[in-house]
Symmetry: D2
């Protein structure tokens, strides 16, 4: 127990903050040591500050922890952050500057030049960007981001195909769960017996992040994938799990069997023993009517992406459906897996040392 990394959570009372707490409850490498949220919550025991919305009990130890102010003083050197972009823009650099490894689910810095946007299975090599960050040079601190919840599933399904066949065009239409909007988030009057065909800035994020994630890491920067992409984003009355309809054009022809094989054989983290890494990151569902959020979102504890309905597309080459758990694989689990990857690369030790020096 004493060997686990102490970590802090910035934005601990939000939906993703709650997921961090749920998912880290028995984590073998990380231990929650610090919780911060808005000023309104500061000072209260976490159990009073939070409106816990998950279906497992809030652990007693966490319920009793005080909520700290969102300030690097007294915070651990590893920070999991999930706050609104406006707050993130202001807060996250403070922590990096103070020598923290900031692992962020916020959108504020995802597209920043020197900030790696990473899915461990997809582009672990982009992590080298942290060495380009001023914070790193000054205090040892750095920032790593994970993508938007709707982007992660898409990119995980595309990565094995891009690798083998190349992708030149991507069409995606999403049906996203309400948990993606946080709490209270979507009003029930807006979503019962309804669909909302609009999510602010979501399409832009999805388009830009996808190309950066599939891009090439070069000496000092990342060159985005040279492909066309268009997204239609919708909110549907589902609690958890984003479903996405995808059509793609490949650079090299591929048969159905080759595509299935590409997904099946996609196991880039095999052998690394990261606790949150799914054994089979992209799982193909054989049934004609799958994947479905209620039935498939929890595969490999919510960390696997399910694909299905692979069939030819009249306009591009292939079309299929994918599903991923938006607050696990698409948010909290993504940050945690990034942290595990960094730990296994020795990048968290360095922070601890740097912090020790500071």
């Amino acid at each position: 127990m004493q060997n686990r990394y102490p970590i802090g959570i910035l934005g601990a009372t939000g939906m993703v903050g709650q997921r961090y707490i749920q998912l880290l409850a028995d984590h073998p490498w990380f231990e929650i040591a610090w919780l911060a949220a808005s000023d309104r919550s500061s000072g209260k025991p976490y159990g009073e500050a939070v409106k816990w919305r998950l279906d497992t009990p809030l652990p007693d130890r966490i319920a009793k922890m005080p909520v700290s102010p969102a300030d690097p003083d007294g915070a651990p050197r590893i920070i999991f952050a999930s706050v609104d972009a406006a707050f993130a823009r202001e807060l996250e650099p403070k922590f990096a500057e103070a020598g923290c490894a900031v692992l962020s689910n916020s959108s504020a810095f995802r597209m920043a030049d020197k900030v790696p946007l990473v899915i461990p299975e997809v582009n672990a090599d982009h992590l080298q960007l942290i060495e380009e960050q001023e914070w790193r040079k000054q205090s040892g601190g750095y920032m790593v981001t994970n993508p938007n919840c709707s982007t992660i599933g898409l990119v995980m399904a595309l990565r094995p195909l891009e690798e083998r066949f190349g992708i030149s065009q991507i069409f995606v239409s999403t049906m996203q769960a309400v948990s993606g909007a946080g709490y209270p988030g979507v009003a029930s009057m807006d979503i019962l017996d309804n669909v909302v065909p609009y999510i602010g800035s979501e399409e832009e994020k999805m388009e830009a992040e996808t190309l950066k994630l599939l891009g090439k890491s070069e000496s000092h920067t990342v060159t985005p994938l040279d492909a066309g992409i268009t997204a239609h984003c919708n909110r549907v009355p589902v609690v958890d799990g984003h479903t996405e309809c995808v059509s793609i054009k490949l650079r090299k022809p591929a048969t159905r069997e080759q595509i299935l094989a590409a997904w099946d054989e996609f196991k880039p983290l095999a052998g690394m023993d990261l606790p949150f890494a799914p054994k089979q990151p992209v799982q193909f569902a054989e049934q004609a009517d799958r994947p479905q959020p209620r039935l498939d979102r929890n595969r490999e504890r919510g960390m696997a992406v399910t694909v299905g309905r692979l069939r030819p597309c009249n306009l591009l080459d292939w079309k299929f459906v994918l599903l991923s758990h938006n607050t696990v694989r698409g948010a909290a689990g993504a940050t945690i897996l990034n942290a595990e990857l960094l730990a296994s690369l020795g990048k968290l030790e360095q922070v601890a040392v740097a912090a020790g020096r500071a």
Copy 2:
């Protein structure tokens, strides 16, 4: 009252059959004179045979009408039909052969060579095909079909653009209401907190019907539109109203204003005084997050299509969202409007005469 056309309903107990009854309750031109359903219902008063699922009361007169066997004997000469394709394939020709005008919402004959597939605002001229039908020549009877519920909204939104700018590529991803699957239809265990990304044969229907509807009527046949189209069809937890995300490539460039004008000025039935024709068939919603099924499905008593979110598409030219009421505009209302058009063209009188002769 005595001047109204007596009409019969084939498939009267189904969801669309119920909508025919609801929508025709006070129709100025048509009067329900005959109801037929499966053998199981035959002989019972309609009120006992049906599980009425609409939110207006079943009219007393209709509740007391007996359910007749599905046989042309004793049926009126105008038949509104909405039965499963397998039954339609067998039953509908019998009625046409017996001299009836069969106005069908069933999918069985929509793509048949000599059978017009018609949306009055879109391709009224395709009706000439009925004169090519053997039935017409023999008994005066004929068959006219209306499209699938997901096709109608799409084609109404596309028609004004095809007319002015030409369309070469269509991408559509749907979020369809459960009423489209009839009753009992979709199990609640399949759709609560869920999405089903599959509807049997729906994508194929949508792709083929769209091109036929936008096609050119020539001497003896219809030449489908020469365009590429791909559809992703999904079921969502919504009672009524299909939402569709669309991207299109135009043959001639068009500005946003030109597209809005094309929709705004699309009033092909103006001056015909058809009771069910919407005044503004395609209505643009200004708000960023519209159309939405719960809020927009009832525009012009469910007969208008709402479009919104017109914006450039990174892959094709433009993208937008559309919504139409699937059991009104997309089914029962579609058949009724076809019947009104035929009446105003004198094609129902001819049936009556022909039938009189027979």
Copy 3:
């Protein structure tokens, strides 16, 4: 048109405020002349200030009306009010003091001694209380309230039974729609695939209001009904329509037929020609599984209450289910019907005169 009473709406942007606007669109007696909402909205055109959540279009005339500050200056003499209790407590007396007839849907003064809590079909005679109000004596202004949304349906179903048989015990358990909580109101994360068995203060309101409504109006006050009542209130994933399970103990024995007759013959407003009065205020549904919110909430444009499943209760005497449209019959329609009753009693003329004097 020029003969209609000009009325003002306090709380115009809320869910009930929106319903006032929808329901008064073509009202023969009342014309919306003034809209007020929170300071945040003040000065904006209503169309910009409101997030319109109803499925009929916001009328153009109303969309362009400016939102006024919530102050009696410049307001009409008849005010329909639906604001949070805390605001109501402060604002409504100001309007009554300034000579307005305040017809309120707010809970703040419902239980006040001299304020009548009225359902026209149930206790029109309680209106005499307005003559006891200080405001009335000073400025001619007065206050009349309508009950909570869950109370109205219950009391309408109970009133005919209380009249004929007497009621000594009432057990009620509700399943209430989300629209009852306003907008944004209930978070979707709280209600999708869920039930919330708690609505703040609702049980207390329902218990107290029911007894006052069924109470006896005496010289200067109302003596509540002498009966026991207990309420369990729950929120369910339904957009509109409160469903309530009721068990009652009667003072005199009644047969099933007698109870049905009491409901059937309950037409206390017959002959008064109030535009919003339902012809059959309490309607019995014969089917075993009714009433249901989606199917029955719109009976008589949402102003009728539907009862069903009348059967013996093992503990008390009878049990049944009732349903009423919570934002129509249970809120906006209730205020409007109160206003119609006051108009027909000449109590709105008096305000106009009094106001003229002031």
Copy 4:
């Protein structure tokens, strides 16, 4: 592994059948050895016969098992049964007669004189009734039933109170999940944006079973609890988890603290080490708005009942809300726990021996 009891499942493709399979996947005492379903499924591999609706994958071993005909020949000596009452009435006696221990979730024999209706925490002593059964005497076979899904939660919450204070009157109003109706069960058109205030025979079952469960086991029979009970049963749009509003009259006065203590100290199976027995069978939720199905149904893997909102009742003594997972605690888990109890009492060994003899 070789020491586990082989068990068979009758009704293996239904919703409860699927839960047996899910819950028994890693059961330390029982191993699924035989699956039977309707004739239509017989002979197929289970994976083809079932429409798997649970959110964990169907185990491979089970998917490959053939579906057997519903006949005792070749079946194991321990049968978990969950089939429609009509089938149960015919099939279950055949298995008991053939020497099987039939542990049934079906309603057919729950109220039969010599058949114990058992919840291990509540009335384990009723099991003695099996020795009165003819089957037992003839072949060693016997039948034990578990209650209806809505009854179990209620009785578990009541039992500790009945024990300490006595209960004379029970009022219960339920909000039941759709999974309780099986698959396809409730049509989505019936439950989206809706409540159905009727479940066939449910109220009668709930009333009768509750009194039998809380009754006294005497030499040859069970005397039901002498108490009044009335139930209102409703279906709501929730996937899993029945919520119930309860009012009770006690025979002896009890304070809030005494009631909470009765629930808290209710641990009748402590020390027996039954794998499915919850550590804290009745759990009190402190929050004002709990229990809620989405948040509380999975406590102790779905085997605990959550109670909340304990408060005085104006009519009876106390009221509260309870929640239990209807297909786990209320069905499949109930049968399994009954089997565990029988195993620990040595009643399954005896069947094996008896069967060996036969």
